[in-house]
Amino acid sequence: MLESAKPKGNDSLEEIAMLALEFGRLLMEAGASARAVDEITAQVASGLGAERVDLRVGYASLAITVGIGTDGITRMRKVGPLGVNQSLDQALRTAAARIEQGGSTVAESRAELDRLLRDTSRHPDWVVAVAVGVACAAFGRLLGVDWMGVGPIFAASALGQMVRRWLAMRGVNVFVSATIAAFLGSTLCGLGARWAGSQTVAVAMAAAVLLLVPGVPALNALNDILEGRPTLGSARAVWVAVILVFITAGMWLALSLLGEIS
């Protein structure tokens, strides 16, 4: 690390801690595992001059202690809803690796983070809806849905994705939103599959809600437990279990409505 970049005094420690926490928060919200959050946050803090870095990764908050010499501070940051955004995750990792090389001031690093957030875009909603439709149709085939059921799965899951996005943008609770999207997607798929003459209507209705199954949080939950963070892993696992119940509730309503419950 360059000597000129080494911070002096508590103000600098404050800035280092808050910038490192900002990286950690964004990584959590982008779907990173706790180990990745821990390592990347430490890269940022040590690259900016911290000699000691300790991070506590909670489900809804992060706490960091950074120290230089005999000085040290602890700060906490709230974490928002956890999602998945691999482009942002990758951009944050690249920026943290650059900061770790040293030579950047806190202000320069923050400017880089702001630029990164501005430049990292999301795919257009219609592209995501079509991709989700294709993915769920492929899931349907893997589950044994006949070819007549594939088109309805595609259309229903694409609609389900659009509904989920629309509800998320209006701040609707994620569990309620999952039930509504599952009910609408499953009902539309069931009606479409019947109209198309599919012999596997109930399985097609299940395939149409698979876009809602939280695969990344489920894998992260186990990963966190395996890597020595059972508290966070358990919290994620409980969240996954509860959202699965809400998804199934929406699907159950649709199956009952169409008389597909055996």
Binding site: A32, S33, S46, D54, A135
Partner: protein, 156 residues
Amino acid sequence: MNIDLLHLLHHTICGGLAAAGFGVLFNIGYRTLPWCAASGALALAVRTVALAGGWSLPAASFAAALAVGIIVQLLQSRLGVSRNALSVVGCIPMIPGGVATRAILGLFAVAAQHSSATNQTLVTAAEETLRVMFTIGALGTGLALPTLRLPARGRK
């Protein structure tokens, strides 16, 4: 072991399509999507072969996740793509979401009915719940094994 090659090809293609579709949902860049598709295709190919060999769903899923984890770990530096993006997205088509919803529907039915069929429904729901838990556990462990470093890396 008797494998229908058409069945294997079908599942491989579907695995690739599902992984690429979820790659878009997870906001993976367009240039990386072919690698996501390859990762999903590899996972489904290994799982299909293992299932055809008489392996259970959790065991076959573990083998597939381990294969994806190892290949991605080996190729990561050459591909210049995040390990997380490739290996996790590749395993998403193997998350047993269909079995999970069936298991919960079974539990709903047990809570609602009062008949002699309740026991059988409960046993089926319990079997499927366990299958989901062990399969997710197998996927996570298979993915994590190639990346676990021993001894634990020190912190500056």
